[in-house]
Amino acid sequence: MKTIVISKFSAAMFAAALFLAAGMVGSASAETAADNYSLYCVQCHGTAGTGKGINAPYLAVAPRNHSDAKAMGELSDANVALAITEGGSAVGKSTQMPAWKHNLTAAEIKDIVAHLRKMCKCTGAAK
């Protein structure tokens, strides 16, 4: 009986800890890669990821086609992550690709890189 009481207490403590942890996660608002892509990337790269978003006609440099296995396969995961984190200029590409480091956490950027690999059906080049 005593054991059961302790278990209930432990369960309650665990639930409380989980609740608090959930609250902390909630304030950080981690999002799925698909959701982040749909809000931050689609405006230029497009819903299909082919670089034909609603802003694309107004950009001096065409946004990258994320479904292009050959072109995406030539980029390492680190290069793609750097482009997202610091912007296009950090990888010698267009300044029209902004830095997203203030919008996305490092973990979210890593998830987006994995998401892009699914879109291009390719793996990243070695560094």
């Binding site: 909630g26 304030s27 608002s29 999002e31 959701d35 982040n36 749909s38 809000l39 931050y40 689609v42 405006q43 230029c44 497009g46 819903t47 299909a48 082919t50 034909k52 978003g53 609603i54 802003n55 694309a56 107004y58 950009l59 479904s67 912007g87 267009s94 300044t95 029209q96 902004p98 830095a99 997203w100 203030h102 919008n103």
Partner: protein, 220 residues
Amino acid sequence: MIKRGITVFALALLLAVPSAFAADGAAIVKPCGSCHKLAGPAVKTIAEVKARKAPDLFYAGSKFNKDWLVGFLQNPTVIRPAGTVYSNNIKTTGDTDTVAAPAKCASKLSAGDAAAAADYLMTLKDAKMKTGVAKIGEFSKAKAKMLIIKTEACNGCHSIEGNGGLSCPTWEGIGKRLNPDWVYSFVQDPQYWDPKVWMGKRDLDDASMQLVVNYIASLK
């Protein structure tokens, strides 16, 4: 005696009329809450952002210039070419996205109601926003455009002087619309105002920020 009583009553009525019939700005704005968020804090998830029907107004007094508000409330125009949240107004044909016609604000107020509503909206301020940071005056438009177009590529998402992207608000008439101090604050830290806004934060020094706010203030 009776005559004097009538005169006093008539005078009292005359004095009472303006306040009795003065439009109540808060009451006029209240129905706007069905689409606009009138109280903070800002939403914090993408799902909540995508459910947003109209721009947040709970810091309208920090963001807008009152004269512009009075005019806009009488004759609303489309500021966001792809709607409040661009991703809700995309039409995809094949692999190409275009903008579906965004919903326009249906409310149109009389001049009196617009003035009262603007008075109320101007009371909705963010207490933490620094004021007096934007130094509006002479500036180099060439330097500003070099920074805004070439370096920061703001025109990728904003239509500037008639040319630019569609996912963010147009800069047409933006100088009339926005308080330069709010522009300074928003460009410096967009996520302070809207944690999930689809604009990247820029790391600009004060001299660059002054070029941005002066250029924006000049677009009237």
